[in-house]
């Protein structure tokens, strides 16, 4: 589904991603873990097409398309979804209105007809149930005054509505209490199919108790330094990141 090769990216002249290699196939769930500042959000932003990054080397192929040639909105329309670590507030725009606009632009891009109000509402009702989100929340200004948990749940709701091929969840689990975490995980699990894939960026192993990944990668200083299965996450949980730093930190000090 997505093939990232030797990806290097700078921001403001500073190299953050230093040669990422990652292959994600349909039906797979990959977890990316790593200490703060290692470049996890940067990787997510670069994949989603945020402005301000300079790609100095490498390639990203998404479903036969050179992803790096596409605008952010085209990537979204092609099926890439990013659940933001810090979802942005948009005053005066309800989630409902926002999603309807987004959905219709995506459908137009794909040569599909706009959803009529009835079909849209029906879809919304179904997805609301899935992530246990309230109609009232969806009518409020997007993310304005939402609690941390509401924001994250709203991200998953949007994901459910847009049904992406590749979902990138950037620390969606941070700041969630155990109930919210369960709801979010349930949402992600029920959307999982053999035709889509997800990349879970997380700090903690606990999310992986609910969503079992096929692969766990450790991102450190802009590189994937270790790959394993769920047991790697357990190990990280127990030992922390210091041993990784000890193994790889020396590279940086040269």
């Amino acid at each position: 589904m997505i093939s990232i090769k030797n990806l290097h990216a700078n921001i403001e002249g500073k190299e953050i991603l230093k040669g990422i290699n990652l292959e994600v196939k349909s039906g797979e769930v990959h977890a990316i873990m790593g200490p703060n500042g290692s470049g996890k959000s940067t990787l997510a932003s670069v994949l989603a097409g945020r402005d301000g990054y300079e790609i100095t080397e490498g390639s990203v192929v998404f479903e036969d398309k050179n992803l790096l040639d596409l605008e952010a909105e085209e990537r979204a329309r092609e099926g890439i979804f990013l659940a933001f670590q810090y979802p942005v507030e948009i005053p005066g725009v309800s989630t409902t209105n926002f999603l309807k606009t987004a959905m219709n632009q995506i459908r137009q891009y794909r040569g599909e007809k706009s959803l009529d109000a009835v079909a849209f509402l029906k879809l919304m009702k179904a997805k609301m149930k899935l992530v246990e989100i309230d109609q009232a929340l969806l009518s409020r200004s997007l993310n304005e005054g939402f609690s941390g948990g509401e924001k994250k749940r709203n991200e998953i709701f949007q994901m459910a509505m847009l049904e992406p091929k590749l979902a990138i969840l950037d620390e969606t689990d941070s700041g969630l209490d155990i109930d919210a975490l369960r709801i979010v995980a349930h949402g992600v699990n029920s959307l999982k199919s053999k035709d889509n894939a997800s990349i879970l960026i997380t700090h903690y192993q606990r999310l992986l108790d609910y969503i079992v990944p096929d692969f766990v990668h450790v991102l450190f200083d802009g590189k994937i330094v270790k790959t394993g299965d769920k047991s790697l996450a357990m190990e990280l949980e127990k030992k922390g990141y210091d041993w990784i730093k000890a193994e790889h930190g020396s590279l940086e000090t040269i």
Binding site: I90, G92, V93, N97, T101, Q105
Partner: protein, 481 residues
């Protein structure tokens, strides 16, 4: 919900949509302004002596005034002798029925999305269509007439309802009120008159559509709305002009009189030609709009969406004379490129327990300057009165300016005033968030801006709201990235 999407799909064209002009054969006044021109206009309209006298008095007063300089707007000195003050399409004016109207004229308005054909109109909106100096058609007159509502061109009203015009003309905005009001009083050409009798709720929206067509011609229309006791009317005003390289002057006066328990809602979508990207051409929009809540419990509500004009100088105001009367001002002003807007309101509280509410949303992009100027005055007599003002500014880019000039005078101690102001920038992170969900840049901006302006947009009648949302987006196209 669905309208938002239609809106987003509709704006594909990037230029000012209404920039074309039509060659009507016109009946024009010679260039320049003097007493003879004033007489010429009055004569063209077969006006009674008293009105000519009123015009001449206004003209003499104007001639000794200086153009006001206090607005936060800058433009070259206007040569008032280099303008024409009257231009009427020859085939226009005075038609008994729409069948007699020049088909070109009907087409012109259809191109603007205004149907003058009563059968064709989907929604119940009566229209008075004004091209340059004259009203060319008013629809639904008969339907309204059965309720005793008068809705006609101003010129017609002068001839057919002189007693009403004599009573109310200049009663809210006196000829000597200010420079542009004096000028308008001297040379006003046409506009709409609307009278709602006691106890009548006007069953449809009344609307005037102004179109400047001729070159080098000033437009000076005059609108007068009188709402008697316990009546209600919602009034809409729209306007466009061709793209021309020279600036054109528009100096209108709107007067609203609301008697006891009457309610008047006045909505404007101002879309005069704003000039090109380099700031060449565009309309100078110098307008005086004022309403008086003359009776107790009267209510006047102004809603404006200002997207056009090179320079806007406009302060729709309310005089709250009746006890418990209410004044409202909801405004969205968008400026882009080199546009300048100095707009706001005056709320003059004279009666007891009067209330006013001001919600102003300024959006600036490009190299434009956008100022809110408001004056809230609560007089000694106006005890237990309240005002709430909220002025929010949204900036796009860092070459534009947003300014707020709120003036507040409270002369008694039982009244309360609240003022809130915010300034924000459209964030790159907001736009990225939208794009990540599949919206292109322009739709993202449109969505964010319409969200920002929502509280004001919600006050517009449905049909207008759609047009207004579209306009906001159009005005701001190309202003990011």
């Amino acid at each position: 919900m669905s309208t938002d999407d239609q809106v987003l799909e509709e704006f594909t064209s990037k230029e000012y949509e209404h920039g074309w002009s039509v060659d009507f054969e016109a009946d024009e006044a010679p260039m320049g302004l003097n007493e003879d021109i004033v007489k010429f206009i009055s004569h063209k309209k077969n006006e009674p002596e008293w009105l000519l006298a009123w015009r001449l008095k206004s003209f003499r007063y104007w001639a000794q005034l200086e153009e006001p300089k206090w607005g936060n707007v800058h433009y070259p000195k206007i040569d008032y002798q280099a303008l024409k003050y009257y231009s009427a399409p020859k085939k226009g004016g005075k038609v008994k029925s729409l069948d007699e109207l020049d088909p070109e004229m009907i087409k012109t308005f259809e191109r603007l999305g205004i149907s003058l054909n009563e059968q064709k109109r989907l929604s119940g909106i009566a229209v008075d269509a004004v091209i340059d100096s004259v009203s060319v058609a008013t629809t639904f007159k008969e339907t309204l007439g059965k309720l005793g509502i008068i809705f006609c061109s101003f010129s017609e009203a002068v001839l057919e309802h002189p007693e009403l015009i004599k009573k109310y003309l200049g009663s809210v905005v006196p000829a000597a009120d200010n420079y542009y009001a004096a000028l308008n009083s001297a040379v006003f050409s046409d506009g709409s008159f609307c009278y709602i009798p006691r106890g009548v709720r006007c069953p449809m929206e009344l609307s005037t559509y102004f179109r400047i067509n001729a070159a080098n011609t000033g437009q000076f229309e005059r609108t007068l709305i009188v709402a008697e006791d316990d009546s209600y009317v919602s009034y809409l005003e729209g306007c466009t002009a061709p793209m021309r390289d020279e600036n054109q002057l528009h100096a209108a006066v709107v007067e609203i009189y609301a008697a006891k328990n009457a309610e008047v809602k006045y909505s404007t979508v101002q879309n005069w030609y704003p000039g090109n990207k380099e700031g060449v051409g565009g309309i100078y929009n110098f307008v005086t709009k004022r309403g008086i809540c003359a009776g107790d419990h009267a209510k006047i509500s102004w809603t404006q969406v200002e997207t056009g004009s090179a320079v806007t100088w406009k302060y729709p105001s309310c005089i709250l004379k009746g006890d418990y009367s209410i004044g409202e001002f909801y405004s969205v002003a968008v400026t882009n490129n080199y546009q300048q807007a100095d707009t706001g309101t005056k709320m003059i509280h004279l009666g007891k327990h009067t209330k006013s509410r001001i919600v102003s949303k300024g959006i600036s992009a490009g190299k434009s300057q956008n100022s809110y100027r408001g004056h809230v005055n609560i007089s000694k007599r106006a005890t237990h009165s309240r005002n709430f003002s909220q002025c929010d500014s949204l900036l796009m880019g860092n070459q534009c300016g947003a300014h707020t000039f709120p003036y507040i005078d409270v002369e008694n101690s039982s009244s309360q005033i609240e003022h809130e102001a915010t300034t924000s920038k459209i964030g790159e992170d907001q736009i990225f968030y939208c794009k990540q969900r599949g919206l292109d840049e322009e739709s993202s901006v449109a969505l964010i801006v319409n969200g920002f302006a929502k509280e004001v947009m919600n006050n517009l009648p449905m049909e207008f709201a759609v047009e207004a949302q579209k306009l906001l987006a159009l005005t701001l196209e190309g202003s990011v990235g």
